[in-house]
């Protein structure tokens, strides 16, 4: 393949990564933004989404599309509920102390991961995508000074991957509308700005926290259900999304939703492109170092506004 089509293929694959990453990271950013805590178990809620999606489609059997649609609705709710319960039984009791929350969520990380290992086992299992037509993509070339299209061999994407990108965009728009246009979003933003004042105005802050924690985990689970037909469900799959979400949330300016989406695009696309041309390990080393240095020298993130 020529360089042009090759780059386009890498960009498309990167766009799928970026879409799923934007979803996962916005869940983490939401929790950090409103509650000011870092949820280290976020990747495990993602993993749980993928594993539960396998369970649901496996139990239901029948047509792939039906099982998948059920999973898409049921799984995020289940994971969200589990996260909300975790919040009420553990995080609330340590009063959302930032450092102790990190230690507690590390514990939750191992509990979720290891219970999955005990019940689901160490195998990676696939979920059949509901539809999966291969779409060949054209590329252009100059013949006698005129542009003409042709279909290079290997330059294609599946309809399912395009649907993942579309679904991620829809969910992100929905989340943005929820935060900026709804009563619930108003409560969340009030809690984010001043917890004590919100409490004084009669906002049930504890319930808002449980809701936000559940919503953040639910979004991660949704992202996992979307990716599982491409990536297979495995009990250790939460590690990379967690790390990448951290990177995205930090570069995007902690807690800022538009910044997070922008950073997810940057990281997802560049990860896809760099991984195609260089070693994926090298790409990850550079990304983690970049994040550490951003936190050290520009703690408000690359896109975040400096706070007074």
């Amino acid at each position: 393949m020529d360089f042009g089509p090759y780059l386009m293929l890498a960009t498309l694959e990167g766009a799928v990564t970026a879409a799923v990453l934007a979803l996962t990271a916005s869940g983490l950013a939401l929790v950090f933004g409103v509650m000011r805590v870092v949820n280290v178990a976020h990747g495990e809620f993602f993993m749980l989404g993928a594993v539960l999606a396998w369970w649901v489609t496996h139990i239901l059997g029948g047509s792939a599309a039906f099982g998948f649609v059920v999973a898409l609705i049921v799984v995020p709710v289940l994971v969200g509920l589990l996260a909300a319960i975790t919040d009420m039984t553990i995080l609330k009791r340590i009063d959302y102390d930032p450092e102790r929350t990190i230690v507690a969520t590390i514990g939750i990380l191992y509990i979720l991961q290891q219970v999955t290992l005990m019940t689901y086992g160490p195998d990676a299992r696939p979920v059949v995508p509901p539809f999966n037509t291969r779409i060949a993509l054209p590329w252009f070339e100059f013949v006698d000074g005129k542009i003409s299209l042709y279909w290079p061999w290997g330059l294609s994407i599946t309809s399912y991957k395009l649907a993942v990108i579309g679904a991620a965009v829809l969910v992100l728009i929905g989340l943005w509308l929820l935060m900026t246009r709804s009563k619930l979003g108003l409560l969340m933003r009030a809690t984010e700005q001043d917890r004590d004042m919100a409490l004084a105005f009669g906002i049930p802050v504890e319930r808002v926290y449980a809701l936000v924690f559940g919503l953040g985990a639910g979004i991660a689970a949704l992202a996992a259900v979307l990716i599982v037909p491409i990536q297979q469900a495995h009990y250790l799959m939460g590690h990379d999304p967690l790390l990448l979400s951290f990177i995205v949330v930090i570069i995007g300016g902690l807690g800022s939703l538009p910044g997070t989406v922008l950073a997810a695009l940057l990281i997802g696309l560049s990860d896809g492109i760099i991984s195609v041309f260089f070693s994926p390990t090298l790409a990850k080393i550079l990304a983690t170092l970049l994040v550490a240095l951003v936190l050290v020298f520009r703690p408000q993130g690359l896109f975040g506004a400096r706070k007074a």
Binding site: V38, I90, R93, I94, P98, E99, R100, I102, V103, A104, I106, G107, I108, L109, Y110, I111, L112, Q113, Q114, V115, L117, M118, P122, L243, F246, I250, S279, T281, L282, K284, I285, T288, L289, V291, A292, L293, L295, V296, F297, P299
Partner: protein
């Protein structure tokens, strides 16, 4: 009645005597385990100096442990240095990495410090994998028995190995015991309790914190290098996140900010995981449950609770 100082000397001296005497009575399996525990407890004590006494929670200490481990291992496998010099190389590399990471990470505080150290350690782990040609990545490499000789003592022999582990433990233990009661240690505790007040009293807080990071990193590297040398294996898993979480877990369980805590925590956790790994492959479940319960019910850890309720003089 004895004063607190004498009681504490007696208790800590007694622990060392018991550890020394145990080698004559323990069966082979537990004999080997205790040697491992003593080296790992040295790692935990290095961690405790920063977390328990200075109040800086690092999530990236595996980087320092691995710096010692690989500094020692690569010096032997790639450059053919002798065990003693390789050990020094490991410790120096750990101190150097500690100085660089400390200078950068200490510009942040609180949660950001935790994330920055986590990210640097992750970059370190990936670097080990990236240079797989030398480090052999996840698979790791073995240090030949013939090379594991220090002062003409064969470190692969169980009795010698126990002695060596005990010596490392003793050195770190006594150093920590003295350090936390010295002027330097008191300043670190002052920084933990109230950084602004310590600064206002005229202490150069930044320099003390950097010194604490470098010292903690050096001790971790000493533990890493000793571990590789005594047990003959160098692998990437020692650089992974798990080995950053372990010292935190050990110290939290035993009691942060106590000299004995790291040993107690390491001992408990080692045997908990050892016993549960006989029953299930999901042995890290225990670590998770213990972490959650500790944060919920006993944030002071075992020795911390003991100090709060009974022995108020515990250093």
């Amino acid at each position: 009645m004895m004063g607190g100082m004498q009681k504490s000397l007696l208790l800590h001296g007694g622990v060392l005597v018991v550890l020394f005497a145990l080698q004559f009575v323990l069966p082979a399996y537990h004999h080997g385990n205790l040697a491992r525990i003593m080296v790992l407890a040295s790692y935990a004590m290095g961690y405790n100096l920063l977390f328990g006494y200075t109040g800086l929670l690092s999530l990236g200490h595996a980087l320092f442990f691995a710096a010692g481990l690989y500094g020692m291992g690569l010096a032997m496998s790639q450059f053919g240095l002798s065990a003693g010099i390789a050990l020094m190389v490991g410790i120096l590399l750990g101190a150097l990495v500690g100085a660089v990471i400390g200078a950068l990470a200490l510009r942040t505080e609180g949660v950001a410090f935790m994330i920055v150290t986590l990210m640097f350690a992750q970059a370190g782990y990936l670097t080990v994998l990236y240079f797989g040609a030398y480090t052999r990545g996840d698979e790791g490499f073995v240090i030949a028995q013939a090379d594991r000789v220090l002062l003409s003592l064969d470190l692969s022999d169980p009795t010698v190995r126990y002695f060596a582990a005990f010596s490392v433990f003793c050195a770190v233990f006594i150093m920590c015991y003295l350090a936390v009661q010295s002027r330097f240690g008191k300043v670190l505790i002052a920084i933990r309790e109230n950084e602004d007040r310590a600064r206002m009293l005229g202490y150069d807080v930044a320099r003390y914190k950097l010194a604490a990071v470098v010292l903690s990193a050096s001790l971790s590297a000493l533990a890493g290098a000793s571990y590789g040398l005594l047990f003959g294996y160098v692998g990437a898993s020692f650089a992974s996140v798990q080995y950053s979480i372990f010292p935190l877990l050990w110290v939290l369980l035993g009691g942060a900010g106590t000299v004995l805590g790291p040993l107690i925590g390491t001992l408990f956790m080692f045997y908990l995981i050892d016993l549960s790994s006989g029953i299930t492959t999901a042995y890290m479940l225990i670590a998770g449950v213990v972490l959650v319960f500790l944060t919920l019910f006993a944030p002071q850890g075992l020795m911390g609770e003991l100090r709060r309720r009974v022995w108020r003089w515990l250093p």
